[in-house]
Symmetry: C2
């Protein structure tokens, strides 16, 4: 099941052709996106996702996106979706057709089902490998043209890293910087739990600020955790009481194996953090 | 003017919609491409371009492309184009629709006109800035998941670098590695002329092997030049007798200004190298 809507709120057939071949989103990966979890007909962290879409668009010097239009499109997809089923809701925004003098962006919301593999990962956790990302933590601020920390649709490397993980018998990846510090997953944020404190790296090192990580930190603080945004050394990942990947659709996913080595059992911490995260959306 | 053809050789309306919004080429920049110059109804370096398309596809673990089909599509575009006008002919190949169990790639050839700015650059040369690319020359071989040296459609960074150049009053970019060596342009290969020798960096440092650079080297060797593929230090760029960016559509373009400083006049060397390049396609 898929549902497609445009920014005027109109629904369209997701299996029909809607894009020209000379859309710069396709020819150049020149665009940005967000993926939002919709549960119980509610889009989680909608405002932070829209703000981040606008932030990514600004990094790519795209026209400011019509956020009210994206909300309309999101609403149309949600309304069209069967009751009781989660949606992975993608908002996509590209530079539009190459050479268009009006520079009209391409924009739509697409709802897709949550993958069975992601549901399984939420329950059972994942095996992760660390992979070099090849840059230092000071590069992003110095070289904004590298678009580090933007959520551009130029995701070929992110997808290749996940294939490399599969080749090594794992399901996901944590990227590391040249100084041995932790960056992020190809589609997730890294969170580490130790001594009743949650850690995540700062986005200034060239990573995407995590909406789910942020929600988790809010919930965890209320539940008595300390939260810290600071650099994490990759060598410390295996020393934690819990290592997690967070993202909109996978929620708080436990890492049970790192680079082929089983980590200490973190199911109790995972249960507690999942409850803290859930508390943000209940009641 | 644009002309679009699919791999069965059929022409289609380039201004109509042909792609689904959930094409992985658009959602993830997950695909590869080539741009070929067609002059006098002949596609230049067609075989090297097709081979490189296949090489990029292999790096992204896409199915092997139907090269005969791409040749058919290219032929259809060329046949449909007005006599006497050059074509920038793009071959595009993506992973196809997300979740398609058959995994059928999206593939087409698109002819577009050669930009006026490129024609001007061929004649008048360009002003170039060096920009950090943020990685070392040994990374590509160690970390194939970073897809360095593939021609993927995830080109958002390449486009952002060109905008940064414009911001600095220049028209193009030469990327440098963390060790101060020269990589490539966002859409071109760097060639340096000194003491009757042409230099270009080896593709093993994580750059695209240049089809036009290769043709130029063939022609220049016949004209008595020595050609060398070896690392180039960025500090040596300004010391050359000629600095050039080569690409299919811009041909051999002279760099007249580097990081705001005028380079020694290289018009004579440029004329000689252009003749050597042209000789590959004449007679």
């Amino acid at each position: 099941m898929r549902a497609l809507a445009f920014l005027d709120g109109s629904l369209a057939d997701s299996e029909a052709a809607h894009l020209r071949v000379d859309d710069l989103g396709l020819l150049r990966g020149d665009g940005v996106f967000e993926t939002i979890l919709v549960a119980g007909k509610k889009a989680r962290e909608l405002r932070p996702h829209l703000d981040r879409l606008a932030r990514s668009a600004a990094m790519l010097e795209l026209p400011a996106p019509d956020l009210a239009g994206f909300e309309r499109a999101a609403r149309a997809v949600i309304d069209a979706w069967p009751e009781g089923q989660e949606i992975a809701l993608k908002l996509v925004y590209t530079r539009g057709v190459d050479g268009d003098p009006a520079g009209t962006p391409t924009a739509f919301a697409l709802g897709v089902e949550v993958d069975a593999s992601i549901r399984q990962a939420r329950e059972q956790g994942v095996s992760v490998v660390t992979l070099e990302r090849g840059f230092g933590p000071d590069l992003a601020e110095r070289a904004p043209w590298l678009l580090l920390g933007s959520k551009s649709i130029s995701y070929a490397v992110n997808m290749a890293a996940l294939r490399e993980a599969a080749r090594r018998g794992a399901q996901d990846v944590i990227f590391t910087a040249t100084d041995g510090s932790v960056l992020e997953g190809p589609t997730s944020t890294v969170v580490l739990a130790k001594d009743r404190t949650l850690y995540t790296p700062p986005s200034t090192i060239g990573i995407l600020p995590g909406t789910t990580q942020y929600a988790l930190f809010r919930g965890a603080e209320k539940a008595g955790w300390t939260v810290k945004v600071e650099p994490i050394a990759a060598v410390d990942l295996a020393q934690a009481e819990g290592l997690f990947l967070t993202s909109s659709v996978r929620l708080v996913t436990r890492v049970h194996t790192l680079d082929g080595v089983a980590l200490p059992d973190s199911t109790a911490v995972h249960r507690e953090l999942t409850a803290a995260y859930d508390s943000v959306y209940s009641g």
